[in-house]
Amino acid sequence: MRGLSRFFVVGMGLLLAGCATDPTGANDPYEQTNRAVFDFDQKLDKYFIGPSAEAYVAVVPSPARQGVHNFLLNLDLPVTFANDLLQGEMSRAGDTLGRFTINSTLGVAGLFDPATDFGIPAHTEDFGQTLATWGVGEGPYLVLPFFGPDPPRDATGQVVDIFFDPTTYIKLREHFWWSAGREYFTVVDTKSRNLDTLQNIERGSVDYYASVRSLYRQLRNNEIRNGRPDVQNLPDL
């Protein structure tokens, strides 16, 4: 279900992107549609994800939430590892392998994070970033229902990452519920750790949509550079 729904949503996005032009300079030829989808995502956030996350924080004690967070992050590590390798980042691949090994064993299936105490820093990679290091551009800006900002390169990356995820190949009897549960808790965990963020950004913007578009791109570019500042391309102030 996880793969299928993603294929559908992302596939529609890519179809749209296929006939993109760039009249605005913001590389956002579908701005009108994107703004409508953005509004939908915001409503989803306001009426469903936000209240879910608030209830989660109210009901589940903090150590348990930290355990859930660690567990979910640990599940993502095989995907990070595959992409570390594809990018030729051997030292980071070693970090990822070390984190996964330590946290999956000493950390009780990833519920705890002893690897950080051992001085192995956390990082994430995905196939969208790998494509970027191979020279693939972001493509026209897209906002997808449920997924938020997700231009073609990053959306493609998310689909490919499904195949790097070992849990895709473990066919449990209750595979649907496992996938749906992981999906749900990832969203609720993320939101619960950032409850008032979007509101703050919204208040501080004259055009919230444009600010999120700008921040999304800057953040992805920073992830692609693995956090190294882009000294040559700073704004001409």
Partner: protein
């Protein structure tokens, strides 16, 4: 791997950007190291800002002190002009001056709305680059006593212009999120929807700043 709306790191970074608005100008530096003049400038002012935040006096006094501290430290005119993008070239000097005033008030409103969120974070200078004469990037790392475990280190970079003794801060970059670029993208979209009227943007920023002064939030609603 799953990312509904929006990505974990995306949200995390946005939260830190908001926090850094106050933290970045006001933190002490943990490490003593052989520093360049630009690094020294950042270090000294971070300590000055922190002294104000931790100092006595009424909240009102603190805000006033912090405001004059920022006014001296930052080159808000340079940032304001940049955020207009190409629209700057088609704006009359009078309209431009009015916009720069409104931008300054708006910037202070942003800082003031973040003022109460400071809770013991510090910054550690990690290095600097001179991009060209009088144009520096000073890098620091955020040391946050409340950092959640497993969180990646937060890099905060400062754009510094000028010569030793006459430095000013013109931009802050948190986790690669550049304040000046973000504001320019935000404003240019507003301008595109308002006939490129810098006057309309000036009115909007003034309205929002006034709302914060009246005890409301930045949204101006």
């Amino acid at each position: 791997m799953t990312r509904l709306f929006p990505r974990a790191h995306f949200l995390g970074a946005l939260r830190l950007l908001a926090l850094a608005a106050i933290v970045a100008v006001a933190m002490p530096l943990a490490a003593a190291r052989a520093a360049t003049p630009a690094e020294d400038f950042v270090q000294t002012n971070v300590q000055k800002g922190l002294a104000i935040l931790n100092g006595g006096g009424s909240k009102e006094q603190q805000r006033e002190e912090f405001r004059s501290f920022l006014l001296k430290l930052t080159d808000l005119k340079r940032i304001a002009d940049y955020t207009l993008g190409p629209a700057k070239n088609t704006t009359s000097p009078a309209d431009l001056a009015a916009f720069e005033d409104a931008f300054r008030e708006y910037a202070f409103a942003v800082y003031e709305s973040e003022f109460s969120k400071y809770s013991g974070q510090t910054l550690k200078v990690t290095g600097s680059v001179e991009r060209k004469a009088g144009d520096y990037l000073v890098s620091t790392v955020l040391v946050d006593p409340h950092a959640q475990k497993g969180q990646e280190p937060i890099q905060v970079d400062f754009r510094i212009f000028g010569t030793p003794g006459h430095f000013t801060v013109a931009d802050i970059i948190v986790l690669g999120l550049d304040l000046a670029i973000t504001e320019q993208d935000d404003f240019s979209s507003f301008l595109a929807q308002n006939n490129n009227s810098v006057k309309a943007l000036t009115v909007e920023l003034k309205k929002r700043a006034a709302n914060v002064r009246a005890g409301g939030d930045l949204s101006g609603k």
